[in-house]
Every structure is written in structure tokens, then in C-alpha cells.
Amino acid sequence: MTDETTIKVENLWKQYGLPMPKILNKFKQNLIGKGLSSVNHWALKDITFEVKRGETLGIIGPNGAGKSTLLKVLAGVTPANRGSVKVKGKVFPMIELNAGIHPELTGRENVYLLGAIMGFSRREIEVSMPYIEDFIELGEWFNKPVRMYSSGMLARLGFGVAMNVDADVLLVDEVLAVGDLRFQRKCYKRMQKLKEEGVTVLFVSHNIRQVERLCETALMLNDGKVLMQDRATSVAEAYYNLIDEETRLKVKAERSPRDTAHCLSSGELFIEHVEVQNLKGETVDSIASGEGVHLVLRVRTVCPIEQPIVGIGLVSTDMITVASFSNDGVSNRPSFHGIATMHCTVPTLPLNPGVYSIRVKVIDKKGSTLFTGHELAVIKVVRQDRERETLLPYGGFLRLEVMWEP
């Protein structure tokens, strides 16, 4: 362990519950029956990684991947079954931040309580108190019982303590989404500052963009194993690809959107199918970045519907609408009766590689909704053939035409 290494985890295995001697386990299995041997579920399997001083490591992965368990082991809340975990310095776990807050105590009293729970002396908390008070901006509420607080105020309380006490290692578990936007921004800034001061941060989040923004490196966990540890942007991309692939397969499996829960119809009009074609009219799975796309919508109506307005949106995997367009301004919109098809061409699709799903909304001339549908189809945007693998990964969605001066 060098001077610079703050956290060193080697071959860590973790299983929840009381470790029973093998004989006892066998006995138990015989008692319950052989089929239930899945009692031995490993939450973490052979985890190895290192974090340097002042580094911010993001931990991403699907639910149940073992992210929170990893933080708990690092916090010393729960012991590892095998392997070694070394953490240098004072650890401040931001796990279940509001746990331990007593509703009848005032904000100030709760800060002392939280501090004591996290292992800080009364003196240390007293020193930090002005900073905490200033940071959480509760004003007179700080001296009122916590039961009177709004949920946002409550969240600020726990967060304010964590951000303003002296710790060498911060373990952050899905808590940045607290408070209003201004407070969130403040938290970001504070995290940046802590980083500069040499505080090591482990940051668990489902918000990949947050991880990309805050962390240099990231760790991807899945099913208790480390899938990847690399620069945050690369890991984020890999994670997107993982979700993209899942989304694509899911949408493909549900080819008849009418049956799925993604659609809502007034009963008069249905979009039965959306097909993605290239400009040559061939049905395709993927489109090269910067090329055009042709969408074919199959519409079925129960009664004649005169000139409805159709809107189409492209949605990224993390639910951000990247672009949307409609035929609202078009004067000669078609009217529908029975089964019909609608065509829509986007001559160039200036999007960075990724998977984008298509949502469609149809309203009638008066503005009332006839149909909404999500994930009706997906467009997988891939790199153009002539482009090589980039060293610097893509960020954002838009593919801009850029001239570089020599």
C-alpha cells in the first residue's frame, strides 16, 4: 500500500447473514431440502480495486449489483467474509443519511447526535457547527423540531453534516438528488472542493451523467463482480452500451406495441407499428451517425379521424428527449380511416452513437390526446465506417460539424 493509496480492497467476498460452520449449514440444507441451496448468495464476489488519495471513484451498475454492500463493507458496518479491506484515515459513510435523525429533536440537536454517531466528538462538531449551519441554510428552522421540516430540509440536514466535517474518505450512496436545484449545485461545488483538499470520495449513483461529471474513474459492478474499472467516461459508455443493448432487445421482443404498457390510446387511433429504415428504404437495425433515417408508422383508426397531429420524439437511454418534431405546421396533413401508413424522413440524423428509442404522440385538431406510446422502436446510431475507434469517448448527444484550424 503506497502513501497515495487510500483504499485497497483485495479479493473481497461478502455474504449476508451469520456465517455458520459448514457442518451446520449442511445440516440446515438437509433439513430444508436440497433444492434450496441458493441460501448462499454472494453479494460481492472477489472484488479487487484501489483508490488513490483525492480520487473520486464512481460506482455504477444495475440494482442489486452490490454497490451499497461494497460501501457498507468499506464503512465497516458489515464484515467481509474473505479478502482484505484497507482504508486509511477517517471514513464518513453517507449511507442512509437521515437514519438516526430523531423527529422530536431540533435540527441543531440532531447535528450533534449525527456527529456522535459518525464518531466525532462534541468539540469537533462544535467547530464545524457554523459551517454546517451556513451550508444547510435552514435559518430559524435549525432550532425547530425536525418533525416540522419538509423532506427537502430534512435531506439537507444529513447532507450538511457530511459535507462539513473533517473526513479523509467520503462514501456517498445515492444522496446527491436532495434539495432543490440550487442546493444540489452547492453540493457539487462542495464535492469539487473536498476533492481538491485531498478527500477521497466513493460515489454510488444511478445517474451516470453525475458520475461522468464528478468522477475521474469509475467501477462497474454487476451481480457482485467488477465488470470494469477505467476512466469514468469509458465506464459510463460501457454501461450505456449494456443498457442500450437491453433496451434494444426488449423493444424488439415487444414488436406489437398495442399490447404493451408503453401505449395509451383514447380508443380511436392506434400506432400499430413503427419501422426504422435507411434512406434507401431498407429496414435496418442501426444507422450510421450523421446519416438519414426514414420512419414508417402504421396507423389504425376505429373511426375516421381528420388531420391529426403526429409528434415523434427521440429519447436517450437515460430518458432524455434528444429531439422531437411533429407535422403540426404541415398544411396538408392526411386524414385516416382504417389502416394507413405514414412516412417521415429525417435527411440527416446528427446524433452521437447510442441507442435512441422512439415515442409518438397523436392529438386531434382540437388538441385532445388520441395516442401516446413510448419505446415503439429503437434507432441504434453507430459510428461511421470510415471513423476509427476514438480515444476520447463521446459525450453528449449531438454530432456537430466542426472545422479544426491547423
Binding site: 449476508y16 447473514g17 451469520l18 456465517p19 457498507k72 464503512a75 465497516g76 458496518v77 458489515t78 464484515p79 471514513v91 459513510p93 449511507i95 442512509e96 437514519a99 438516526g100 430523531h102 422530536e104 429533536l105 440537536e109 450533534y112 447526535l113 456527529g115 456522535a116 454517531i117 459518525m118 464518531g119 466525532f120 466528538s121 462534541r122
Partner: protein, 255 residues
């Protein structure tokens, strides 16, 4: 040293939380703290109007109350210790803290209640002109033994109860039975001779008799009974503390 400091800081924070918040929104407030031994005393005094209970020549009110106060300290300690791990589960899952603070602060919290009831007891002793002497110096020893005994048993209940709740649910019932197996509302002399050997297995016999002889009779506690109680207290402590230590590492896994 640092650990002890942290332990005390955290204990104090928990005790403050429990005491400060307990009656914050009640009308009678601290009265509830002294209510239990007081009401029990009233009940048994009324009961004594119907059946004969000897009280060794002192007013029954003093006789029973002087034992009910330390007894309540013991039972409320245990009743608080039992669920102390479960009810602080969120804290245990959040931070690595020495888990002994929870049963420990449960006992100190009960000790504060005990002090309040002791005030009432003192008033009553003055009213009934009970003579006391230098044997009162035994009191801190007796209180300490009571506390440590409760701590020993409490750690056992709390740690086992964390995995299987039954023992926590059973504790209040067992404490009620235990009351009748202890010379609180009657003197040890009322126990038939042929059962006395069985009766004296109960470590609280020596402790409660000790309290009473010091407070009411002005005599030192019976050394034979007291030594036995101390021995059993030490025994409980050396059995349940290591057990608690070991199990406490896994509390966060099952909470």
C-alpha cells in the same frame, strides 16, 4: 483512549436523545418516570389489606417501595436493553460504532429514572422517620451490581433477539414472573424452608435484600447472598459479552 471517548460521546448523545424526547409532547411529563414503582407500591399496599404479607416490622409502604425502586431500575434496564439493537437498527446500518453503546445507554437512561424515584423514596423515608446509618455506603455497590447484572443479561437478550425476536417479546412477561420470585413485595422469610435453596438461585434475591437491609434496617447486606449475586453477575458478563461482541459484527446484516 479514543475508543472510550467515542463510546462515551455516543452514549451521552443517545441518552440525551432518549431522555430529552421521551416526554417532550406529554402532559404529565416526568411523572411517568416515577409512576411505575409508585403505582405498584399502591397496588400491593391495597392488596395487603386483603391478604397478610409480613413486612418485618416496618411500614409496608416503605418495605415494598424500598425494594420496588431498585427492582424497577433492574426491569426497566432489561426491558430497554432487549430492543435497543433493533430500534437503533438504522444507526447500526449506517456507521461502524461499538454496539455496546445501545444496551449501555439503555441502562444509564434507566438509572436516571431510578434517581428520580429515589428522590421520592428519600422523601418517604424522612416522613416515616426511618433511621439510616453508615451502611448506606453499600448503596453504590448494590446499584453497580444491579446495573452490571442487567447489562450482562441485556446484552444476551439484545444480541440473540436481533436474530430471533422471541426472546425480546418474552422479556417483559418473564420480568413479571421474576418479580414474584424475588423478595420485593414480601420478605425472604416468607419463603418455605424447603424451597429456599431453589429460591436463592435468583441473583436478585441478594441484591434486593441488600437494598432493603441497608435502607430500612440499617444493616449491611448478607455477605453470603451478595457474594453469590456478584459471582453470578460476573458469570453473565463473561458469557454474554463475548457472545455479543461476536454477534454484533453481523447485526447490520440482519437488521
Amino acid at each position: 483512549m479514543n475508543t472510550i471517548n467515542q463510546f462515551l460521546t455516543l452514549s451521552w448523545a443517545l441518552i440525551y436523545r432518549d431522555i430529552a424526547t421521551r416526554y417532550r409532547r406529554s402532559v404529565l411529563g416526568p411523572f411517568w418516570t416515577i409512576a411505575q414503582p409508585l403505582l405498584l407500591m399502591v397496588v400491593f399496599t391495597l392488596l395487603r389489606g386483603m391478604i397478610t404479607i409480613p413486612s418485618e416490622g416496618v411500614p409496608y409502604v416503605i418495605f415494598s417501595y424500598s425494594a420496588l425502586v431498585p427492582w424497577t431500575f433492574f426491569t426497566s434496564s432489561l426491558n430497554r436493553c432487549g430492543p435497543s439493537i433493533l430500534s437503533n437498527g438504522s444507526l447500526i446500518k449506517k456507521s461502524n460504532i461499538p454496539k455496546e453503546v445501545f444496551p449501555f445507554s439503555a441502562i444509564v437512561t434507566s438509572f436516571f429514572d431510578f434517581l428520580m424515584s429515589s428522590g421520592i423514596l428519600m422523601g418517604m423515608m424522612v416522613y416515616f422517620k426511618v433511621q439510616v446509618n453508615v451502611t448506606l455506603l453499600w448503596l453504590p455497590v448494590l446499584i453497580l451490581i444491579t446495573g452490571i447484572l442487567a447489562f450482562g443479561i441485556g446484552m444476551f437478550v439484545a444480541s440473540i433477539g436481533c436474530f430471533k425476536r422471541d426472546i425480546i417479546i418474552a422479556t417483559p412477561f418473564l420480568m413479571q414472573l421474576w418479580l414474584f420470585a424475588t423478595p420485593v413485595i414480601y420478605p425472604t422469610t416468607s419463603v418455605p424452608d424447603r424451597w429456599i435453596w431453589l429460591y436463592k438461585i435468583n441473583p436478585m434475591v441478594g441484591i434486593i435484600e441488600g437494598f432493603r437491609s441497608v435502607l430500612v434496617k440499617g444493616q449491611s447486606p448478607s455477605p453470603e447472598l451478595l457474594v453469590y449475586s456478584i459471582a453470578l453477575t460476573v458469570f453473565f458478563l463473561i458469557v454474554s459479552w463475548p457472545l455479543f461482541r461476536w454477534l454484533s459484527r453481523y447485526f447490520a446484516d440482519v437488521l
